[in-house]
């Protein structure tokens, strides 16, 4: 289990491959991953950059808790989470969650659980800069908070 919170940009495919190369051979049959990408518009306005603030220490701690909870609920081989903070630009990868398991159903369930609970619990805050130079805090992750909640319940 590895949780990385970093400022630098990263290549999801490369990070997954490197982690996988270090896993014990032959135990997993596959990997399910989710990669969240920065969009270039939100609420109808063009966004030129985004700054992600976090709470150093608490952020890592809560992502690790979510991963540990996933590992308790599902039989998985390993999991990896990378999450950026600081300034980023459209099409940058913001977050990666990857789960390896012997049976893919467990990897799907655990990956979905981790990204859902990470979004609900890990202390990160997005601040967007629009083309007019305005900076604004993103108040909610989803325009449809009910959809998020039902998605969370779906994996409980």
């Amino acid at each position: 289990m590895k949780v990385i919170v970093q400022q630098e940009s990263f290549s999801p495919g490369q990070v997954i491959q490197e982690f996988q190369d270090a896993l014990p051979r032959g135990k997993h049959g596959g990997v399910v991953s989710f990669v969240g990408t920065m969009r270039d518009f939100n609420d109808g306005e063009d966004v030129v950059s985004m700054t992600l603030e976090h709470y150093p220490g608490m952020t890592e701690k809560h992502i690790e808790q979510v991963c540990a909870e996933a590992a308790e609920r599902w039989d998985i081989v390993d999991c990896l989470v990378v999450h950026r903070y600081g300034e980023m630009f459209p099409n940058d990868a913001i977050v990666l969650v990857a789960v390896w398991s012997a049976h893919r159903a467990n990897a799907f369930d655990a990956c979905r659980f981790i990204i859902n609970y990470l979004k609900a619990r890990a202390p990160f805050w997005k601040c967007e800069t629009t083309t007019t130079g305005e900076k604004r805090w993103v108040e909610h992750n989803s325009k449809d908070p009910k959809a998020e909640v039902s998605d969370l319940e779906g994996v409980k």
Binding site: Y55, I94, V95, I115, K119, P123, W125, K126, W137, E139
Partner: protein
């Protein structure tokens, strides 16, 4: 007793500062009491999240000497 307080994101902007160091009389205080102290008697705004020593908690939680308290808006990571 001594309590350190941290504010994040839009809440930090509203407070006009990122942290406070508070020295309180007595050996316990609730989160609500501390918030009232740093905001001249206001109550905690709706939807504000609270953590003590990096674990989520609520406004009734009782603080002890050396605790790190934090207030922040809903999280928007991922």
């Amino acid at each position: 007793m001594n309590i350190s307080i941290r504010y994040f994101a839009s809440l930090r902007d509203r407070m006009g500062r990122a942290d406070d160091a508070l020295e309180l009389d007595g050996d316990s205080a609730t989160v609500s009491e501390v918030w009232a102290k740093v905001t001249d008697g206001q109550s905690i705004p709706d939807s504000t999240l609270i953590s003590v020593n990096m674990e989520y908690t609520d406004a009734d939680a009782v603080l002890k000497d050396g605790d790190e308290l934090a207030f922040f808006p809903p999280v928007t990571g991922g």
